[in-house]
Symmetry: D3
Subunit: 134 residues, 6 copies
């Protein structure tokens, strides 16, 4: 018996979508209001989905306390209350939520207690992004 | 790197579920309260899911402003604040939310900036429907 | 010790906002899309708030099963899956959600197991209305 | 044309996660606060997803009233306002939400009006589990 | 300038509504399913509302970190993952959510950095209770 | 008959909580992570509550299209996708959400079609602030 578990984490951050080597009008055409100077921000929600066999002993797929510890140390510590444009993970790149989603997926690849299936990031109540590793 | 993006749109509309060539008791057996005369309505939510490569330049799967424009003109303009029973798309058919879901999927097939993966329509907080094109 | 309890109920219905004795352009100016012919609809949420002393014996303000029974028989039975324009409560009146709110408040005035404080009706995720009886 | 429908049901219940043949410290290491004596509880949400062809006549995948009746009699009657540790379905097993999810899936396998695709159980706003039958 | 701030906290717990000195049928009449033997549980949400002047220096009504610390130590530590029937605060009393609401209000009266206005407890998505101190 | 209407608007923005004339350690003590350099952001929700008589003719408290137009031009245009630290409204002040709430209230005081009762701003799913004008 294999089950999936999904767990949600929340953090606020800011970003500005801006291509250094594009003109103001090109930036405006591509990013619209998201190109406003000085940046804006969001309450981001991460939903990470893991899978694995349901343990015959414990009845669980994965120790959630271990997942919370991993997320705190390896994922949220680098993102919570940050300006995404200043993170080394996005050096030379525009920190869109698509790229944030890929970045968070890659961070969770170091978590080994269950199989990583998917990372979804909700940017607003209207927008979400998913990445499954390829 | 291929990512999925989902975007949500809201509109109110009304419908009545009623088969013209069935008896009152048959209509009641099939549709229950949804067969009440004069119709009822819902706040419908459309969640459209698209996929595509994350652009190396812009970091995006798809221009969301273009998706919003398309949705406004090609999808919402024909559904928002409408009585679904009066739409030509449902001529001779009972406008269930299953059929609304298929109809909205077909409208989005004309959107070419990313691959259409799925349309989900939430009819109430309890009910949702999905169609993936086949 | 006096506490408040609030309980939420959901029902879908349809309405059309249209003044019989006004011109088309005046109706459009007042009601916009809500004046579209054939009507539209919503998933309405009622939140009724009651107050009263916390019973020293039962620890409760009010028997919720009694409230549910009352609501089913006296409130929802006349509204659920209905077209509000056809209800006698709104004869000769445009069934706006403001008026629906007042109507539901008046229905709950017959409930005698606790003091009626407020009725709130959520029409969409953006809009809500409240009435406190005067 | 094949569509999916998902429908959500809610019930409160309690459980305690505790292995009879493990020491207190081992139980604490595995289950943390969920091992607290006397148990705790949750508002559980079941989301069941079914699929099938959209009927050319009725426009529906499945009769929702029949699904509601089945759910009431075969699923909720055994879970609603219960202590999961006392249910025969979990005899000799720790009633984790993973196991509850598998149990609910197996109950829905007796529903024959559409194809059972998935059962998801939301335990809290942060946690959910899914089972697809294998 | 006086503003209100509200902050929300979540915890799961269990309870059984049962009067020791009432008959089974009387308990059933008063509490219904909430009287089921062995108890059930909920994901409770506390929303505490405080008020005070907006500090001319900091721009804040109250230090939220101090509120979180107080809540963790004085409120949640005694409720989180507990069976409410076993708490000394409810000795000899049925632990209804009305009483839980009064109890939590009394705990917050020891918080002195802002004026306590109201405690609301959401028991389910349908039910909430409020207490303002009298 | 006087009713209240509440309408919700959403916008993302960024801010940094930082007192220029305080030391780093003092800023950290007061604002914690909200003092992180380069700022962070939120999806803010404004809920504005207005009251007035229910018009005997239209059945409405206030023209919602007029409220939407006012909000777009007078409120959101100055806040949407902005860095609040750069706004003239907060010159020399730390742009806390308490102050944002007072600022938005003052902007709505120019709206004359109904009585302004309250502005609530939700900063995250855990935090909200309210201001009623004094």
């Amino acid at each position: 018996m294999k089950a999936h578990l999904s767990r949600r984490y929340h953090f606020p951050a800011s970003h500005r979508l801006h291509l250094e080597d594009a003109s103001d009008s090109e930036n405006d055409a591509i990013y619209g209001k998201c190109n406003n100077p000085h940046g804006h921000g969001h309450n981001y929600t991460i939903e990470v989905t893991l899978s694995g066999p349901v343990s015959g002993k414990t009845g669980m797929v994965c120790d959630l306390a271990a997942l919370d510890d991993f997320t705190e140390k390896e994922v949220l510590s680098g993102l919570d209350h940050m300006n995404l444009n200043n993170l080394s993970a996005f050096a030379g790149q525009v920190p869109t939520t698509e790229r944030l989603c890929v970045h968070v997926f890659e961070l969770y690849q170091k978590f080994t207690l269950a199989r990583l299936e998917r990372v979804r990031i909700e940017e607003t109540a209207k927008n979400s992004f998913e990445y499954t590793g390829s």
